[in-house]
């Protein structure tokens, strides 16, 4: 192989492309976000206080004592209201400690579900239609391409969101959580075991196109 006609031009191609790339990095570095800001720990399951350990469950309520309701869609159509099931077993410290920062267990997700937190399905629309967490909104990566999904743009940003995908190694939930964070939401959790874990636990699910 000719050094002057193959190797040297190859080195120059890498040098030119790499140089432009580093200049681009210096210009656009701020626009690329890695990882995600970890939200505060999720609240304890509804009806359970950390101290004392055993407390009778109570009905969901907001700060002013009125029942908490999920926000309605912009056109006024109400969202699916999950059935409250306050008898949730708190996650064990071992199970929580093994999760990445910002991730929660299925049971922690169920506790947030019972408190009417917003669930976000990060999987593709056809998979969503086959089954999803009851009342979950659809926001896969593709839905952000032409701007934020309608519900993302209209919902108050102080809501607690729980994002999930297919569990295991799927990264869609983490990426959608970053997009939602960039859209202004402050408290976002990733349900680590995703829809398979939720379904296996026997928690409420539904099928159909749902809401985006």
């Amino acid at each position: 192989m000719s050094v002057s006609r193959v190797i040297l031009p190859a080195v120059l191609v890498i040098a030119i492309g790499g140089g432009i790339g580093l200049a681009d990095l210096a210009i656009r570095n701020e626009k690329v976000k890695l990882g995600r800001t970890v939200p505060p720990p999720p609240p304890p399951p509804l009806g359970r206080e950390p101290e004392p350990p055993v407390v009778e469950p109570v009905a969901p309520a907001s700060n002013d004592g009125k029942p908490v309701e999920k926000p309605a869609m912009p056109d006024g159509e109400p969202t699916v209201q999950p059935k409250a099931d306050p008898a949730v077993t708190p996650p064990t410290p071992k199970a929580v400690a093994s999760l990445p920062p910002g991730h929660i267990t299925i049971e922690q997700g169920k506790a947030l579900f019972d408190q009417n937190s917003i669930f976000v399905d990060a999987r593709k629309s056809e998979v969503y239609a086959e089954g999803h967490v009851a009342g979950a909104f659809r926001a896969d990566m593709a839905s952000f391409k032409s701007g934020d999904p309608r519900w993302v743009a209209n919902f108050p940003k102080d809501l607690t969101l729980v994002v999930y995908c297919s569990g295991g190694d799927c990264d869609e939930s983490e990426h959608v959580a970053q997009l939602l964070e960039a859209s202004g939401f402050k408290t976002i959790y990733v349900m680590h075991d995703g829809f398979p874990g939720w379904k296996a636990a026997g928690h409420p699910i539904e099928t159909g196109e749902g809401q985006e």
Binding site: R5, V13, K31
Partner: protein
């Protein structure tokens, strides 16, 4: 100097042979694919605050491969990889530093194949990100289709490197 010498070919014959012409479509396809891949990794589709394409989407793809890279390496790869792809792809199409550009592309494809094999070996459920957030030939998720796709492109790149004189090239000597 006799006049007969003017009718002879120069000492370094630069006329392309059959392989030089065979490689023309390979150069156009391979260079076009790399330029297309680079464009999708460099240009976000949405100008809004949140976007899953362009550098942001490619950075997440690199993170999803779980290579244990520090942030500075992820950011460096996010911007240098597509620019090298773009420069090599364009030069391959126009025929300047043709063999060198093909060698760079072959090297990148070798790295890509190794990364894809490591993803398959670890059974990770991640998107390829080969062409940004597009996937014209294979499903989104990494699978053997992507290995076949990259091996086919690698074979074309090696063929271009091995061909000394290329047709329809702005610079046949380089």
């Amino acid at each position: 100097m006799s006049r007969t010498h003017t009718n002879q070919l120069p000492a370094g014959n630069i006329r392309p042979g059959l392989m030089g012409w065979v490689c023309v479509p390979l150069r156009l396809i391979l260079g076009g694919l790399f330029a297309y891949a680079a464009y999708n990794k460099l240009v976000p589709e949405s100008a809004g605050p949140a976007t899953s394409s362009g550098p942001q989407g490619f950075a997440w793809t690199i993170e999803a491969f779980k290579l244990g890279l520090p942030d500075w390496a992820v950011r460096g790869a996010t911007f240098t990889t597509p620019w090298i792809e773009l420069v090599a792809g364009v030069l391959l199409i126009v025929g300047v530093w043709t063999r060198g550009s093909a060698l760079v592309i072959a090297g990148m494809l070798g790295v890509f194949i190794a990364l894809l094999l490591s993803v398959l070996a670890r059974d990770l459920n991640v998107d390829c990100g080969c062409f940004g957030d597009m996937s014209p030939f294979c499903p989104d998720k990494v699978g053997w289709c992507h290995i076949v796709q990259d091996v086919a492109m690698l074979a074309a790149a090696v063929m271009i490197v091995a061909t000394r004189r290329h047709a329809l090239a702005l610079c046949r000597r380089c």
